[in-house]
Amino acid sequence: MPILEPEDQPNSSFFGDFLGRLGRTAAAKIGVVLLVFIVLACFVGPLLSPYEKNGIDLTNMYAKPSADHLFGCDAMGRDILTRLLYGGQYSLTLGLTTAAVSSLISVLIGCIAGYFGGVTETLIMRFMDVWSALPGMLLAIMISAVLGAGFFATVIALTIGAIAGGVRMTRGQVLAERTKEYIEAAESINCSKLSIMFKHLLPNVVQPMIIIATMYIGATIMMAAGLSYIGLGIQPPTPEWGAMLADGRAYIRLYPHMILFPGIAIALAVLAVNLIGDGLRDTLDPKLRD
């Protein structure tokens, strides 16, 4: 047997690859830093605040930003900065949970549809077609109205809206991947259909879904804000960015700080998450890869 000369090469696992990608583009790096900052602020910040989440202080109603209250106070004298940070906990958790759950469900259904084909595929895809005929926000509103308000109901409402798009995309990826020879090879070595789907197909089609999921976090935060704005979703007195926006709606001329800061918070969170998604997507482009 000929002796082969191996090179010392670093291993590159799924996560190692993923993290490496994050570090590669400027966009992703900025996004990560920003997101980490926001997460820390929202989860650690409230511990440092002298104010309470719902600390009503009628002497400070509508107070403008000052040394005491950096972002001012709302209609009930509650410190906006503190409420913003607490609210961030809800918004971020909502975004992450929804994105994670909906991606998981989409990828599973998409894989089943793409791999099994035939009648199964047709049934699933036509169902998804009907599903996606309804605009996401409208669907979320309908479901919220049925399930009522609150954190979990909102998660369910927002998850359901996201599934159809994810299924279509995953199925497309599966169709492309399914014809590759390693899938045929897996069949030839007696892998069960389930094993082929989970061990071979799924890990290789999931990457674009991760990007979409990351971007969806931003969309979820906005939709949750929208739901709260119209009185569904998370209910007062729980601080939530959208609800805070709604509260300040009437006073936009007199006390713009009530709308400004929640608005900026939403914008920054969505920006951070989109930058990360952008960066990941750029590194998936094979031409930009080395």
Binding site: P6, N11, S12, E181, Y182, S188, I189, N190, P203
Partner: protein
Amino acid sequence: MPPLMEVRDLSKYFKVPAGVLHAVDRVSFTIEKGKTLGVVGESGCGKSTLGRTMIRLQEVTDGLILLNGEDITHVSGRKLREVREKVQIVFQDPYSSLNPRLLIEETIQEPLRNSCDYSRSQLKERASALMDLVGIDMRLRQSYPHELDGGRRQRVGIARALALNPEFIVCDEPVSSLDVSIQAQVLNLLMDLQDQMGVAYLFVTHDLSVVRHISNAICVMYLGETVEMCPSKELFSTSMHPYTKALLSAIPSIDIDEPMRPIPLKGELTSPINPKPGCRFFPRCPYAKGGCRQPLRLEEVSEKHFVACHRVREIN
């Protein structure tokens, strides 16, 4: 003693919008234990489909496949799993035939995992032994496919195919994607393994020089049908079918004093969809005559030399 592998009138058709695509049409041959049958032809001749159908990766449309005399054409379930352990395949493209997310060690262990309950250490040991057998260096065993070059990846594919100690392996253009110097390494490996383990091959390729080296007998295919089949050496010394002659004449020789004189073929490859009866090479054959449109069968023109041509005796 029945031959290891036998196919009788094996056909594989696909339904396409334009009609029925005859990918493989009434192919018959036998392969003895430890021997190699080379299958050559150009694109669209059906050689890859033939290989995949023989090991049941594609369903058979018509005809029989016999493994050690036993009919495996339509077996399923447990029986199919048993059959799969005896017949394996090595794929052409070293870049897409390995799961990019699995370590090569895991890829090789997978057939073992599927067949028996081996312990972790047993799996590791078996995989190690296989990698030794195909010549993959110790240091590379915990690599991902993208970290290896084509030649090494192909060795991994071969190790995977050998994991269950098969009796028969379909080699689907295993060296076509490799560089010339690596081709020779992998071909030698395949031949060494055949000697050591007594495994038989169906060696599918478009490269006539490679097939001569590794095969005992060669089958030439055109548009899904066998046009000529004979022992390897005879194909090159006394080919009889006009297509085989044209194919051989078209190979650019490295003999610089012998300019090549390719036999010109009229027109282009005809469509395998709803083919007309009779010889499929008729539209392009330099010896074509009216009578060639009659239905055609492979005849034994001389000992072990089969040709499907109405005018074979006149031409030679």
